[in-house]
């Protein structure tokens, strides 16, 4: 019996059975679930949430031969959109997309139901409130999980609505909890619950605990208590804590701005540092620098396309890949164009600008004029919560760290390696270096390749923050040049400090000037600064730079 006929006969069987007792139009293969899924699929508002409640209340029977799926798995399946509705057979199935078709498996995952066109397989409709409800249900199911992490997630989901958990349940959980982290979370949940207590002493204790909690809920609770509590002591305590909170919030507001500035600065430094090498060390104006950044970003997209299953590994791998690839492109550019133009920086500017146009159009023609999606791996999403008002976004934090690592590696390479020594020698006095046996042409290629490779790495970092598309590079080229010139050409440390300064200055001005004006002001400041001190913050001294 072929699969299709099998499905048909199963469907026919179901029609027969269903005709006898319920008029089920949504089938799951498990009788007990039919009405629930039907209510969810067909229903609206409350009927749907009730159906979900009923689903969540299902416990798998203990008998091992029974293959009824776990309630959490089903809820998660609905949330993730893996459970779909196959229209022709009116069946709820597990579905995996494959081109224009879906591969379907029965709800208990025992039967392969073949494949069908994506037209025929529909998603179970979700919206924000249903999604939130599902999350809550899944989390609540996690309260009794064997896995402490799942329990922690479940408790954290409840922390803003302590009223939704009963005191009895909470006490029971407190009594049985073994894991320390989960215990702490449980206790803070319990404190929240005590704020509603009738005993002033208990409330006072709870208020005091909130002193260290800067979250907006905690602050709102304190403000509420300060104005409304019947007990004066509690009110006074609340007032003191409110003042303390305000001070802290203000302080951490500045810390946040500083972090934003550093993070913007790190992006600027990453974008500019490759330029600092080709421009600063070699005196080559590389207008295609932005496009090398773009190529790096496309590397991380291409790697993710190659390894769609492991986004994180793809991202990490794309760092060396981007470095080598853009480095290679850089070397090709140097060998084919730039080496004929040494000593004529303005001509290199024009030629490399031509190259930048070609690279852009190549991406448009051979990849796509559209932006391409680059996913954030798990470890880079989310925040590092310092306290209720101050949190560091992980992706920014990683990029800041990444920037510093790249910078340190580069400084070390130039300072301590043989290659670095030769680069410095060539940049300081080419003919003398040649006389000492340095193959200057080779060093030129490699240095330019190094600058290009770093641009590629910067592209990988940027792919985590912004669009990856053919225009990516143009957005950074003017900024990069400003950073390098402001810092002082030929000075890597200058680039670091100037990038960070500009980032922070931008972010300090943004709240009162607005994003656009802040940027204009920074530019105007830079123009005036360079007119005053043409050699930047940290001018390179000595004969090499004169003229």
């Amino acid at each position: 019996m072929t699969l299709r006929t099998a499905i048909v006969s199963i469907a026919a069987l179901y029609l027969l059975i269903s005709h006898q007792h319920v008029q089920a139009e949504v089938k799951t293969g498990i009788n007990e679930l039919d009405p629930l899924f039907e209510a969810f699929y067909e229903g609206r508002g409350d009927r749907r949430t009730e159906a979900l409640d009923a689903l969540a209340a299902l416990r798998p029977p203990a008998t091992p031969i029974d293959t009824q799926p776990d309630a959490r798995e089903l809820l998660q399946g609905i949330l993730d959109g893996d459970l779909m509705f196959h229209k022709p057979s009116s069946t709820i199935v597990w579905a995996i997309k494959d081109g224009r078709e879906f591969i379907m498996t029965s709800l208990d995952r025992t039967t392969n139901l073949g494949r069908d066109s994506s037209r025929k397989v529909k998603r179970l409709k979700l919206n924000n409130s249903i999604r939130a409800y599902l999350r809550q249900l899944i989390a609540a199911l996690g309260l009794y999980s064997d896995n402490p992490t799942e329990r922690l997630v479940a408790i954290e989901a409840l922390i803003d609505k302590p009223e939704s958990i009963e005191q009895k349940t909470l006490d029971e959980l407190l009594l049985n909890e073994q894991d320390d982290a989960v215990m702490i979370a449980l206790q803070s949940l319990s404190t929240r619950k005590q704020l509603g207590s009738a005993d002033p002493l208990e409330r006072l204790a709870a208020v005091t605990v909130l002193r260290t909690d800067l979250s907006s809920e905690s602050r709102a609770a304190i403000v509420r208590i300060e104005s409304r509590d019947d007990d004066e002591n509690v009110r006074k305590a609340a007032q003191a804590i409110r003042l303390y909170h305000e001070k802290q919030v203000n302080l951490f507001g500045w810390a946040e701005t500083l972090f934003f500035g550093l993070s913007l600065g790190s992006v600027l430094v990453l974008a500019a540092i490759g330029l600092a090498i080709s421009f600063g060390v070699m005196g080559v104006i590389n207008m295609a620098h932005g496009e090398l950044i773009m190529l790096g970003a496309y590397c991380s997209w291409a790697m993710q396309q190659l390894m769609p299953q492991s986004i994180a590994a793809a991202l990490l791998l794309s760092i060396p890949v981007a470095f080598l690839l853009t480095g290679l492109v850089g070397i090709i550019i140097e060998r084919s164009v730039i080496r004929f133009l040494y000593g004529r920086p303005l001509e290199t500017l024009l030629a490399t600008f031509g190259i930048s146009l070609i690279l852009q159009q190549m991406v448009r023609t051979f990849v796509s004029p559209q932006n391409v999606p680059v996913a954030n791996p798990e470890f880079m999403s989310g925040v590092l919560q310092i306290n209720g008002v101050f949190s560091l976004t992980l992706n920014r934090l990683y990029i800041l760290a990444f920037c510093l690592i790249v910078f340190a590696a580069l400084v070390a390479l130039l300072k301590y390696s043989r290659f670095g020594l030769e680069v410095r020698a060539v940049s300081q006095n080419r003919s003398m270096a040649r006389a000492m046996g340095v193959r200057s042409a080779r060093i030129d290629s490699l240095t330019f390749g190094l600058g290009a490779g770093i641009a590629g790495i910067a592209g990988v970092a940027l792919s985590q923050l912004t669009n990856v598309g053919p225009n990516l590079g143009q957005a950074y080229i003017v900024d990069s040049f400003m950073v390098v010139v402001f810092g002082g050409v030929g000075n890597l440390w200058g680039t670091l400090i100037s990038g960070m300064t500009l980032g922070i200055a931008n972010k300090l001005m943004e709240p009162w000037a607005g994003a656009i004006l802040a940027k204009i002001l920074v530019l105007v400041f830079l123009i005036m600064f360079i007119q005053k001190r043409p050699r930047g913050l940290f001018p390179q001294r000595g004969r090499a730079v004169e003229g």
Binding site: D80, G81, K97, G99, R100, R119, K122, R123, K125, L126, N127, N128, S129, R131, A132, R135, S216, A220, E256, F260, S263, L264, V267, R364, T365, F366, V367, S368, P369, Q370, N371, V372, P373, V374, A375, N376, S381, G382, V383, S391, T393, L394, N395, R396, Q464, L465, T466, N467, V468, G469, P470, N471, A475, N506, E510, P511, G514, A515, I516, K519
Partner: protein
């Protein structure tokens, strides 16, 4: 693999282009239709697709016997995202190539740039993108949404269904967001929202660093009242914006963002994970369950030869606009723009959401308004729609400067800018 396929495709496209430009001289008995979309520069991201859509529609029309017994011929030019070049290319299409109708433009400024050319040479332009309104030209047919066909229903949905009380109006600093936000602000205040519950923010094109703004939105939204962001942020700035929202832990369940410029095509360049649950308001979604839509999608995927491609609202607008034009030409029995302008008013054609769209006397069309939630597969799930069709309103009733102005291109009024209180017709005809 992908690279090679794309290469072949573009080689083919280049060959086709070569052939079309050759056939230009070979055959004289064709009806020429202009396609004025940027194929290079910043707007190529969005506009290239519309060029392909037009080529597909014209191909199909030819396969079905052409128009008035003649074959149609697309004349494609590239205004390269350069606004003055739009005007120049429009003139080239009309004067040099003698096209009888043009489909094109995307940004407001490109439309403003070509407008005088179409008016001077009395040709017709079909403009397929949602826009700010405050305009009604005799020579332009607006098949995208006017603010009352997108922004106002979206806010109604958020207020009535989601219960939003605080509003962040965030946009890119240009005329479309400015107008939309002005209309929304007036609308919200008329509905009792106090001005301290409205936060307005503008950012430059391609803004990439959203840290401070998202942090502000987060603070604004954490003061107890349900908050939503109405986003008129333009294309490129969206990815970093949504990424920052996701990273700072602002979920669609806390502070939903409803966007007017994010469609399926834009989502295909996003990692949709952090966007799930955020909203968009359009007049068409690829996921709409309708027979005409299924056929359109199949045709598109076959035409473009890539199953991963999507369809979007401006494509539907071209679909509607092109069919309206075809019908109007058949009705008038001529392609002469002067006659087509009259014949097209009142023409109804199927849209892709299972209904019909009609060209109104103010050169805007009737459309349903849909609110969709972003799903993790880059598609939208329709969560709400207007009960009937909404007719596009050229002049917003919520702005002091335009509340008395109406547009009606039928005789005897024949005016796109008629002030009912002073009985003066200003603008174009002077």
């Amino acid at each position: 693999m992908l690279l090679i396929n794309r290469f072949k495709l573009s080689a083919l496209a280049a060959a086709c282009l070569g052939i079309t430009s050759l056939s230009l001289y070979a055959q004289d008995e064709t009806i020429k239709v202009g396609v004025l979309h940027s194929l290079s520069g910043t707007m190529a991201i969005s506009e290239t697709t519309l060029k392909d859509t037009m080529l597909m529609l014209i191909d199909q029309q030819n396969a079905n016997g052409g128009l008035l017994g003649k074959q149609l011929e697309a004349v494609v030019v590239d205004p390269a995202s350069d606004w003055p070049l739009f005007a120049e290319k429009a003139r080239e299409l009309i004067e040099q190539e003698s096209v009888v109708a043009t489909f094109g433009a995307w940004t407001s400024v490109s439309r403003k740039s070509v407008l005088p050319v179409f008016e001077e040479l009395n040709s017709v332009l079909f403009y397929p993108v949602q826009y700010e309104g405050e305009e009604s030209s005799k020579n332009v047919f607006y098949t995208g949404a006017a603010p009352n066909q997108q922004a106002i229903p979206a806010v109604e949905y958020l207020t009535n269904v989601i219960g939003v009380e605080r509003w962040v109006l965030a946009g890119t600093d240009y005329v479309y967001p400015r107008t939309t936000n002005k209309i929304l602000e007036a609308y919200l205040q008329a509905n009792g929202v106090s001005s301290e519950d409205i936060m307005i923010n503008y950012t430059p094109f391609g803004h990439a660093d959203w840290q401070s703004i998202v942090s502000e939105i987060k603070k604004f939204g954490s003061e107890g009242k349900k908050t939503a962001v109405v986003s008129t942020i333009n294309g490129d700035a969206n990815v970093p914006f949504y990424k920052e929202l996701g990273n700072q832990g602002v979920s669609a369940e806390d502070i939903p963002v409803i966007a007017f410029s994010v469609g399926e095509e834009e989502l295909s360049g996003f990692d949709t994970e952090p966007l799930v649950g955020h909203l968009a308001a359009w007049n068409y979604f690829m996921s709409v369950d309708a027979e005409t839509n299924d056929v359109f999608i199949d045709n598109w995927l076959d035409y473009i030869g890539d199953d991963e491609r999507v369809t979007n609202d401006p494509m539907e607008a071209h679909y509607i606009g092109f069919n309206m034009w075809v019908k109007a030409v058949e009705k008038a029995g001529t392609t002469d723009p002067a006659f087509v302008q009259d014949a097209i008013i009142g023409v109804s054609v199927p849209n892709l959401t299972g209904g019909y769209s009609t060209m109104m006397p103010n050169h805007h069309i009737t459309k349903p308004v849909l609110i969709g939630e972003i799903q993790d597969d880059g598609q939208f799930e329709v969560v709400w729609e207007t009960p009937g069709l909404v007719a596009g309103d050229a002049w917003s009733d919520f702005l002091d400067s335009s509340k008395d102005i109406i547009s009606d291109w039928r005789a005897p009024l024949s005016c796109g800018n008629y002030n009912v209180s002073t009985s003066v017709c200003s603008g174009q005809n002077l």
